[in-house]
Subunit: 302 residues, 4 copies
């Protein structure tokens, strides 16, 4: 029996047009690596998807935004994107999320993969809708023995050399705003990354705080004070420079990170671009997709 | 949280244009009962689906067949049909197969339902792609305590009154050709149905044989001989009068049921229409969908 | 990594001391075939197990019944029996039910096997509690392509030669009382077996009725009348000659099968022994266990 | 239908006799809280269980260790312990691991719970072996919305007041040796706990390093140097003071934490007792078991 493979890039999604760059860059890199394999993307956020469905049906919006590819207007859920591929004859899927850490959204996708693989096994293997499905790991790795997370964190730190250089040029400390999670203890990965960056780029002070959960911005500020740093390059540690970046990080409100850092005596330079726009970082997901395929025994057509 | 419901009718599918009547009749009956609920259908056969995809792309074919509804040309797999509904905001699905007995295909759909319900449970219930999914039982019932299969078989026997009448008018025994299965022992349901029909319509000899598995045509012939019956109305015990009906049952080949019965001294009248075309039989699936929804706590908009 | 295998024979259980023979015979046959593999048995009925726990704690009962092996007094649930084996270092289990058909109890055990195999997979394969678990099929087979059920039914019919001989000697029709099920349509397997026996032993009229579900005793009586049979050998089509056999089949009550058959003009000879006591029938489960092990890649130590 | 509940405390286990105190203390606290509910414990380590099985069969050992309770000699796997309870009529189980963080071992137990709950659902609910099973969370919490992990970490920090007092009396920094994991990024929980302790007990420098994974001992040493600390109270951040404590932490080898800290200029006081011996810490598991039961709707008999 012949098997056909496809790649689905899964992400939360964004409604900020300029933020699409991060997403499309990852898709471009993936397609460049596997030019003969379909590479689709899917948005998990219902609200964001509905927004794009509305925009798709709005001729005025479409005329104003000729730069937005059709695929964005037609974006579906992860399940519908995978199911359409199955309907079209693809039975081997690599699902590559663009998540940074193994949190709720990533584990939920894991339940999708497990469930899809459980479909259809009463009598004949050939009537299973899927032959193989692989789930690529997040940028900062995940649990498991095949790919030690410490090596993933080190590779991510190396992929962020351009950010270190940006801070160095600005003669500033590099302060990342991560997303974090009040309901999912993932702080260790962020903190280990920051330490690896300080080791790799010893002339740049690199610190990470999270919007939700540990460590909070106050920890970052205490550390800046302890080190006597007064100049900060502020950048989102998120795949796309979307709503969090525009508002929570760099917005004019009193409680934006920029405002709070300034109130604490820092000069703040803002770099509003998502990690997905950094080629070396985007390539991490291409690597992860390829390794997940190899681990599962899926052939991708390069 | 608001929930939206939809119905998906699942069947093997057919490429025989005239056989579509059986399918569309069930959809019509379902829509008449639940006019404000989307009622889609899906084909499980990859080969049949591909054939319709080809026909859809063939302008000549489409011009020759204006009677075929667009939905047939765009028919998808069960998974893709359900996933599209999810993408469009439906989180409560009633999946109603048009299977006659609980066999391989039905149980495989059961694994779909179980699997879809297992997706997305790490943290927040609201991020599950589906709220509820119900699987309607086959025409002749299934295991379980909620709906005793003997009652379903009795109801099916009653729904076939017009077939008994047909045989009566033809002064013939009613011989059904069931599908059966060499790998799934489901003969009991067929045999119990035949007995119920003999009880309900005592003036008509009703017998069922299966293409695959037990009881074979030879059993039917032995019984016809024992009873001294020489005139037979031959009819497929299948939802649609597709390939099995056209060839295996009524075809001119030596080993068609018609030929074999004639060789055994019977005059054979053929009735080439699927069970789906009998309104009372089509309604069984409407009942089953409704009861599955009720059992699962899904509201369907009538 | 080294793997250790064990066999668990699962059955409903019985409290009737004389009926234990059927169970112990299957265990003996299994042990004779795999002398270097532990062969345990488990009772699924909570009520029966509790009864044996009480008897185990009753010194008077134990003194009166020195013939009952310790293992019966210590019998546990299927789960606890398998779990004890795991605790003792066995990670490969063949679970062989003594069910006659694939019904509720068999499918429930299937969920046990699936579930046990799903335990423990987050990081290291070696921390899974089980390496492999195989479920042997019932006497009359099950769905699937590996072992066509029609062949299993034929083999069972052959294994019942001694029953045919018994009826022949008694110059009687052989009437089996099966269990059957109001909630699980399994009649086809019984009816196909009866037909195979009539083919193999054409001089003996063999009929099967079920206590629950289709076909009822009335069907058997109608057929006896049609054939003009007045002498019947009545025997349970159950593994052990337990409560159903003692009371429902052969009891003095008006509605026992014996009484009803007599009322319908039959002379009834009763054979109160379970199918498990027939060596050739007991061997079917040894075959099924061996083939399930082979299919799953489990080595049993002969 | 009546339901019976029981509690199973799951832990890796230990062969160090003096370390059993930590385990038994948790069991005692649990029993004190739920005196009318069976409270069993289970060891997940095969090697440790086998060691106790050997000791159990060694009369000399047993005579030398009259202080060890029978339950330790008879300890089983988690599955066998739960299955025995099922065999004895308990269908509602609270499984409370004594894990510190949500890592591999905890998630593996989660697969046990999921799997046990999936057993036996074909027809009748009452034939499910289990009615409800709840998994209590680790000491430092887990993902989910019901019990924010930050609150769990704060509660754990409060429960460690006696350790802070110990360090204060010794006029030393409190350095915990955690286990950590090279294959599971859980460092965030440890680091957040250390910070909470520094906030609650500002006069005590509290630091945590891990045997495996991030943060390593070298991080701890750098921080001690930065703060100019020369006196350290070294204590395992593990439930029992077992092998890691005796050897890796306090052993005489050159690479024990004690030796390395001394080489780096610290005076080291060792406190070799497990967290399970701290009553307030043991009570965290009693709380977690109770809350898991309440969340699942299981009644525990107090």
């Amino acid at each position: 029996m012949e098997h056909n493979s496809a790649i689905v890039i899964a992400m939360f999604g964004t409604t900020v047009e300029s933020a699409l760059k991060g997403i499309l860059n990852i898709q471009d890199k993936m397609t460049a690596r596997y030019p003969n394999t379909p590479v689709r993307f899917a948005f998990t956020s219902n609200i964001i998807r509905k927004r794009w469905q509305k925009r798709a049906a709005d001729p005025e919006y479409r005329q104003l935004h000729p730069e937005i590819p059709t695929e964005v207007f037609e974006v579906k859920t992860v399940l519908a994107t995978i199911a359409d591929l199955q309907d079209q004859g693809y039975d081997s899927i690599v699902l590559q999320p663009t998540h940074i850490v193994m949190g709720e959204e990533f584990l939920d996708l894991g339940t999708y993969v497990d469930s899809l693989l459980r479909m259809g096994t009463i009598k004949k293997k050939k009537y299973k809708p899927f032959y193989k499905i692989a789930l690529g790991r997040p940028a900062l790795g995940m649990y498991g023995t095949a790919h030690p997370y410490a090596e993933d964190i080190l590779a991510a730190a190396k992929a962020l050399a351009s950010d270190a250089e940006l801070a160095r040029s600005a003669q500033a400390a590099l302060v990342y705003m991560g997303h974090g999670n009040e309901h999912f203890p993932s702080a260790g990965s962020y903190l280990e990354l920051a330490q690896q960056m300080r080791t790799l780029y010893p002339d740049v002070v690199t610190l990470i705080g999270n919007v939700e959960g540990f460590p909070p911005l106050s920890n970052v500020i205490n550390e800046l004070k302890r080190l006597g740093v007064h100049r900060v390059l502020l950048k989102p540690f998120m795949m796309v420079a979307g709503d969090h970046s525009v508002n929570d990080m760099a917005g004019p409100e009193e409680d934006s990170w920029k405002s709070v850092l300034e109130k604490n005596g820092c000069t703040v330079v803002v770099a509003e671009s998502g990690l997905g726009e950094i080629d070396a970082f985007a390539e991490l997901f291409v690597r992860n997709a390829g390794e997940a395929a190899a681990d599962a025994g899926i052939s991708l057509n390069a």
